[in-house]
């Protein structure tokens, strides 16, 4: 079954992502919205995986078949992440550990984790979240981010450290979003009797984040240096992860209560139809919007004879970048609207063709 709440959340994530990336990569401005899109994507990857597994089980697929497809899909997304880095961020950033590599790995982990009791998955997510700051401290996270962006040598050690801890989206702590997305979807969509705890959990996360932010003020001891680093996306601090998680949980719950449970009221809504299209093409849009705003930048730099990435973050003023983002989203909306529910073709289709039985 398709849940419009998930489509809407994914559409919100796409809109945030497009504006944030255009502003950051073209104008070098960090918007206040920055840091809300990626957690939504990671969380929804877990929720969608749960729905996909439930659907396959309903179709009578065996555990082995589901596992095979899960691993193939995970590897596809992971490999796509690597290719994406090579083609979009250019070969020198092949191993910057983008969100796609993290989600690909999360799918493989979830394939194993889906059979575990949900409490254990929550425990694993908590362990990932709370050990991440220690691991970052152990491997000297800041050494990889001296220029304000991630840079590492192509050695096995640095690759491992980048993938697990210091890259853009390392599995510590980003994997916790996918694991919790899986658990929350199972609880909210398939076990309504346990869903009442989601709002208190969301509020608890937000309060915990605020408490950490409050405690972190004006402290310079070792504990604070490791655990209380303030609201940061790079690295994804405990305050940031718990805060965004709290917001996502409450949003997901409210949308589910207001829309999924009153589908008859919304079934003819063009807004939901559009959100569904955006959601179905999320992976394609993620790759495509990077291509649209970064390739011209690299191309222009190369034509001008300077370094390819010379114009990165300094190509235009913020207002122009935001207008371009709006134009891109408008064109995308028109294209998706005209496509409607016609036969789809995008990266998602390739993934199904390659990975599904």
């Amino acid at each position: 079954m398709r849940y419009p709440s998930i489509d809407i959340l994914r559409t919100i994530a796409i809109f945030i992502m497009v504006f944030v990336h255009f502003a950051e990569n073209l104008a070098g401005v960090i918007l206040p919205l920055t840091g809300l899109g990626a957690p939504l994507f990671a969380f929804l990857s877990g929720a969608s995986y749960f729905l996909w597994v439930s659907g396959e089980q309903r179709k009578g697929k065996t555990e082995l078949e589901i596992s095979k497809v899960s691993v193939r899909r995970g590897l596809f997304v992971f490999t796509l992440g690597i290719f994406f880095n090579v083609l979009v961020w250019l070969p020198e950033d092949t191993f910057n550990w983008d969100v796609l590599t993290c989600i690909g790995f999360a799918l493989i982990v979830l394939n194993q984790g889906r059979r575990l009791p949900h409490r254990i998955l929550v425990l694993v997510a908590g362990a990932i979240l709370f050990t991440a700051p220690v691991f970052r401290a152990m491997v000297d996270y800041d050494a990889y981010w001296e220029q304000g962006y991630y840079e590492a040598d192509w050695t096995l050690v640095d690759l491992l450290i980048g993938f697990t801890t210091t890259g853009y989206f390392p599995i510590f702590p980003w994997l916790s979003y996918s694991l919790l997305g899986f658990v929350v979807a199972a609880s909210l969509l398939h076990a309504p009797q346990t869903s009442r705890s989601i709002v208190p959990a969301g509020l608890g996360c937000i309060l915990f984040s605020l408490l950490l932010l409050f405690l972190g003020n004006d402290r310079s001891d070792l504990f604070s240096k490791v655990f209380l680093q303030g609201w940061k996306m790079f690295p994804a601090t405990t305050e940031y992860v718990t805060g965004t998680l709290g917001v996502i949980l409450i949003l997901f719950y409210l949308l589910h209560q207001q829309i999924d449970r009153h589908l008859d009221r919304w079934k003819d809504s063009p807004f939901l139809a559009l959100a569904k299209s955006f959601s179905q093409y999320a992976l394609t849009i993620y790759v495509f919007h990077h291509v649209v705003h970064l390739w011209p930048l690299w191309l222009y730099g190369a034509i001008q004879g300077s370094e390819t990435t010379f114009y990165w973050r300094q190509a235009m003023p913020l207002s122009t970048s935001l207008v371009l983002a709006a134009v891109f989203l408008f064109c995308l909306t028109v294209v998706l609207w005209s496509l409607g529910q016609r036969q789809r073709s995008g990266i998602e289709t390739w993934m199904r063709w390659l990975c599904d039985d």
Partner: protein, 295 residues
């Protein structure tokens, strides 16, 4: 005795019945569990009622109470007719029609005649026609028998209604899963129902399988005939067999559920240990990585 109505005219109202048989008495009998009374009335009766009899120990919580003024539906409408010479065929036919509530009943009302005493009984209604001095003991004995039959019928109904559900729950008696665990409350309610029915059936056994009374009395003989005509020992045995299947099924379900939960909590503990070990290993790995990175 004057016949007022033609035999084919059904006698449905209380007034018609009582005017047809002078001296007759229509009692509305309720079977009440003591815990429903609230203990406010002396003698353990509801306001306005008179206790007719108290059941023997296995069924002690229950009493039969006559409450002829009550308008609430009663368990038994009992018509006692004092007559010395027995009922005429026409009267008997009329009373059978009254007991049947003017409808075709399956099974039809039973009629027993012994020593000029006639008993006609069906679902919810009974007629006892006999010598006036024996009516009191006959009323008590046959009300008791009627109560046991009602209980048996109720158990039969509940068992019949739950067969399909029990068969649907059979897979859960073999293995519990996450799905059946979420269904725990319903399964637990069925388990409780089955155990309650077994208990109720067991409590009826001493009476249903009681040996004949010696020396016999009119009341005891009529009660024994009532029991036999309604095949109560046979029905009790059948129910016992059927409930055994239910008990086996839900016993196994309860056992599987309990095993599953125990295993689940034990698994969770194991997983917590595994997670702690993995964290420890990860710390070591990161320690090594950081050393290699420095070198």
């Amino acid at each position: 005795m004057i016949l007022i109505f033609a035999p084919e005219v059904p006698l449905n109202s209380q007034t018609q019945i009582l005017s047809l048989f002078p001296g007759s008495q229509l009692s509305r009998i309720h079977f009440i569990a003591r815990n429903q009374l609230g203990g406010t009335q002396p003698g353990g009766t509801q306001p306005g009622g008179t206790q007719l009899l108290e059941f023997p120990p296995p069924l002690q919580p229950w009493i039969a109470q006559i409450d002829s003024d009550s308008t609430e539906p009663c368990a038994l409408e009992l018509l006692s007719i004092p007559c010395r010479e027995g009922l005429s065929a026409e009267h008997e036919q009329q009373l059978r029609a009254w007991v049947s509530k003017g409808q075709e009943q399956t099974p039809p009302p039973i009629t027993m005649t012994l020593q000029r005493t006639t008993v006609i009984a069906a679902d919810g209604r009974m007629v006892i026609a006999g010598q006036e001095d024996r009516l009191s003991s006959l009323t008590r004995t046959l009300t008791e028998a009627f109560f046991y039959e009602t209980q048996l019928r109720e158990i039969e109904r509940l068992v019949g209604e739950n067969w399909q559900q029990m068969e649907a729950d059979l897979p859960s008696s073999f293995a519990a899963s996450a799905e059946t665990i979420t269904d725990r409350e319903r399964l637990s309610a069925h388990y409780l129902l089955v155990m309650t029915l077994s208990s109720r059936l067991a409590r009826l056994a001493p009476w249903v399988h009681a040996p004949y009374l010696h020396p016999p009395t009119l009341a005891s003989q009529l009660q024994e005939r009532f029991r036999e005509r309604l095949q109560m020992p046979h029905r009790h045995e059948m129910l016992d067999d059927q409930l055994e299947i239910f008990c086996d099924c839900y016993d196994a379900v309860a056992q599987r559920q309990s095993d599953y939960r125990l295993t689940q909590s034990s698994n969770q503990l194991e997983w917590i240990i595994i997670i702690l070990l993995v964290i420890q290993v990860l710390f070591s790995v990161f320690d090594i990585l950081s050393t290699l990175q420095t070198s």
